[in-house]
Amino acid sequence: MTVRETIIETQNLTKYFGALAAVDDVSLKIEAGTLHAIIGPNGAGKTTFFNLLSGNLKPTSGKVFYKGTDLTGKPIHRMIHLGIGRSFQITNIFPNLTVHENIRLASQAMEDNNFHFLMDTAKMDRCEERTAEVIERVGLKSQSLLPARVLSHGDQRKLELGMILAPDPEVLLLDEPTAGMATDQVPELIALIQEVQRSGTKTVILVEHNMNVVMSVSDKITVMHQGKVLAEGTSADIAANHEVQTAYLGGLYDLKL
């Protein structure tokens, strides 16, 4: 494997909730242009770790670096402008706005005419084009004028993905993008994520539950357990790692299931 540049780095990242260390001294390097998965049992601190990366939470101690600059303390609305987009585990969209409007708002954020009071948004050509493109890409074209709340759960997940694709960030943080999706829809979404990542040489950081998915697509995997990094490596490394077998899978699992 070629040596790649580090795009995101955490140093001794720690987050306490009361007395509970949700993320405990995590130092991690993520290389540009890779699909990096973070796995671990429920409650291992994956989502908290994600919230620290995306700036939704402030760490108790430790730092996050993006391309060498310190992200800690940066306001959350700056993140996307720096090139970091994230999706949420629990679908987080504008439920009463249309699918089109949801995506459009996401791509509008990158425009520089947000303060033109008298401009009709329908006339912002570049933004409209981008919106149409993204809607097409996530496969929601036929539903684009429906309020987001009436979409099925799977389609809402797609919309969520579309909302972070729209501003075209360099780093995508995806928190369980397949959560709650019907089985037959999962490969489709994963293929989409892979395609986005490869075609644009983007960095994708993925939190997933579904081991099969993770094993087949990731360039690198970090296993978290009780707030700590338990192991890190390629799919093969992880599959062979005895510690992962016992701790994450609790000696109960048979990975070859």
Binding site: P75, N114, F115
Partner: protein, 349 residues
């Protein structure tokens, strides 16, 4: 989703409203037997009375419109909104009466004060959300109310009696040139409404709607939501101040009641009646509110306020989306039905 329909078709409703309202004094004049020329010369009595009622409604509608921008569009519930109106009204009165400033200077001063106030409220916006913001705005406005009511500045404000004897420039005097005043108020309302429509469709306005729907998500999308809220606050304050200035020019007495929480609640009520976040609901609601109030007072007398209150409670409980909101829902439902049907046909093929 290109929308190529022209300005005229898109704003048909408000333009018809504008035309009807312009003609209304003349048409009403015909009933009492005054010729249009007499109306033009401010001579009819019934029409003049109706003009007066119209002006009051337009002022209320402007005020409610500004409240809807803040509450219905941006999702900020301010209980200090009446302060924008009242400061403008008192400032106009004091500037004309005590300071004897020239009229256009007064206008400039009032608009400047509007921006300053909006910025004052905005001071707390980045940190204080939801109900705490409501309480803070209530606190700020209450202070102003208390100051207006206090006897320390009775020479300026007239304390609890109200500010009287404001010299209104002759060219817009509501007594001599009432028709002109009526047309100005109407035009201001229509222009503001058109501007608001445009604003809501603009990139800035869309972000305001996004803030109402899910502020955290809007932040995650990369918007500095505080700035957008401040923008909405400034526009709203400017509108409310315009309404306040008209009020000061039209009414013989500026009563401290316009600084009271009850006046903000009036705006909230109007918006609820018309339909929250619909903009046109503010105009419809203002008509419904003022006309109901007027007719009940006329036919029942003093105890009307109880009945009006009861009617509002019942209305608000049973028509939760307001007049305009309910109408739009109907339209949308039909539209959605069609779309579903079309979708089904497509998928079958």
């Amino acid at each position: 989703m290109k929308n190529n329909s022209s300005f005229l078709t898109k704003n048909r409703g408000i333009l018809i409203f504008f035309a009807v309202m312009l003609l209304a004094p003349f048409l009403i004049g015909l009933f009492e037997g005054s010729t249009p020329l007499m109306i033009w010369g401010n001579q009819g009595s019934l029409s003049k009375f109706i003009e007066g009622l119209g002006i009051e409604i337009f002022i209320l509608a402007l005020f409610a419109l500004s409240f809807d921008l803040l509450f219905g569009i941006t999702g900020l519930l301010s209980f200090g909104h009446a302060m924008f109106f009242a400061v403008a009204a008192y400032l106009t009165g004091i500037a004309l009466k005590t300071l004897t400033m020239p009229f256009w200077g007064v206008v400039l001063l009032v608009l400047l004060a509007a921006i300053v106030q909006a910025l004052l409220f905005s001071l707390v916006l980045p940190r204080v959300k939801g109900i705490t913001f409501t309480l803070v705005s209530l606190g700020l406005a209450s202070v102003f109310h208390i100051i207006v009511m206090s006897s320390d500045m009775i020479n300026l404000t007239g304390a609890d009696v109200g500010l009287q004897g404001v010299p209104v420039p002759a060219f817009i005097s509501p007594v001599i040139e009432r028709l002109r005043f009526y047309v100005i108020a109407l035009t201001l309302l229509v222009v503001t409404y058109l501007f608001y429509r445009r604003f809501v469709a603009s990139p800035t306005g869309r972000v305001c709607v996004a803030i109402r729907e899910n502020e955290d998500r809007a932040k995650m999308l990369g918007y500095n939501t505080t700035i957008f809220k401040i923008v909405a606050m400034i526009i709203s304050s400017l509108t409310a101040s315009t309404a306040g200035m008209l009020h000061a020019l039209y009414q013989p007495i500026i009563s401290p009641a316009v600084a009271d929480l009850a006046f903000t609640v009036t705006a909230l009520l109007i918006v609820l009646i018309g339909g929250v976040g619909t903009l046109s609901g503010a105009i419809v609601g203002a008509f419904a509110f003022r006309l109901l109030d007027f007719s009940l007072r006329r036919f029942i007398g003093e105890s009307a306020s109880f009945i009006t209150g009861a009617i509002y409670v019942i209305f608000v409980l049973f028509v939760p989306y307001g007049i305009v909101g309910t109408m739009r829902m109907r339209q949308l439902r039909t539209k959605q039905g069609w779309q579903q049907l079309l979708g089904m046909l497509k998928s079958k093929n």
